[in-house]
Amino acid sequence: MPVNFENNQIVSPGELLAEGDYLSGEGSFKEDNKIYSSILGLAVLKGKIISVIPLQGPYYPKVGDIVIGKVLNSSPAGMRVDINSLYSAAIFPSSMNEKGPRSREKFVQFDVGENLIAKIISFDRTHDPILTIDEVGLGKLVGGRIIKIHPTKVPRVIGKKGSMIKLLKEELTDKIKIGQNGIVWFSTNSDAIEDILVAVLRKIEREAHTSGLTDRVKETIKKLKEERLNVIRRENT
């Protein structure tokens, strides 16, 4: 049962990945007991499942994902939400209750154009994703700023066991939320921090495939902060 790749090796569509008793996961297919890649990406072997993580591509909804969306249409029967995907999501009034402190529930009404952070509770190819906001930390997003990154780069913005997001929260702002669909929402107290955060997110997106990224991002934040301080000092003198 040979495997034709090392973990995290870049493979192209049609490339033979393995022969024998393996299972095909995301981004791969099985034919005559052989597993091929169907997309350009990084091949990963986990147990007996071989999957390929795409280098680029749109967001494909998955049950349990936290996403940030925009309300397209609102009616008493429910809302239609754009989640930066091939599929637009639906949310029904029964799951439009925000959970506040001490598990107090509050029904929230949305207007067209408003943003929300929600969780996908149901999706398959026969029906559109269905969202809910009745969990702590989910609900309407007010103020702040939204930027889009590539959905495939989202795991790097979160980092291994949340190391990157922890760093961003400690160094820059604790009001930052990342949707699996590639939309990042954050709110900061100052323009300087906002600019640094945008620059850092762009850097992570650009260098997502390299290793030791968290350490380099840490240095970049330090450098950018010092530059800002110098500018402020120069303006004051």
Partner: protein, 269 residues
Amino acid sequence: MSEVYKIVSEIERNQIIAKIAKGKRLDGRSLDEYRTIKIETGIVSKADGSAKVELGDTKVIVGIKFELGAPFPDTPEEGVITLSAELLPMAFPTFEPGPPNFDAIELARVVDRGIRHSDIIDRKQLCIIPSKKVWILFVDIYVLDSDGNLFDASSMATLAALKNLKLPEVKVTGEEVEIIKDSLNPIPLKGKLAAVTIAKVGDYLIVDPDSSEERIMDARITVAFNEEGKICAIQKSGESSFRYQEIQNAITLAKNASVKIFNELSKVM
């Protein structure tokens, strides 16, 4: 799915307006700053004149073909210039295939008006036999990628393509007109033209709006200048209105911004 792009998220709208109120924009530009301009000429080998303009992420190709034909009866001694614009479906999610829509027609009209009223082309020189045979120029604007401000990019590309255009010499015997092969000459252009678009967002005026700013703007005004700084054409679009003082300010802003366009055009002309 095009509704996704027509509805602007509240947060996005507010963040753009908040930035503009502080005198900055989301991509780091100041309110009166133009994006980077890149002009290439002669990129379509089958066309008789062509140019590509990149204005930030906006990409426009213009190709010109000529033909011999009859002039319009009311201008028997003038050649004909026909402009048309096409917004290719790959340029933006809301662009659809089919006959030109309102935006495409407006784009072609604005560029056409700039070229026509700045008199950079002497149309009498395109005449061969009055009221019988003249040159007809077909100028086609193709928008490959749309990130706002198609007016300025198309107008620059059209001008660069006209500069790139070469017409053959003709031999006239009686009423017969014969094209002499391998005798291509550029047509003389009088000066240059720069169209500058100003968008109005709230009470602020911004130069060269990108697509996110175009989606939230209240109105816009396009002013075309010739090289001496004379206004050749003005087009206003959008739902809101401009006050008299705002138009004056917009023209001043546009005039300052046109310097950059003239500089870039000088590199290829």
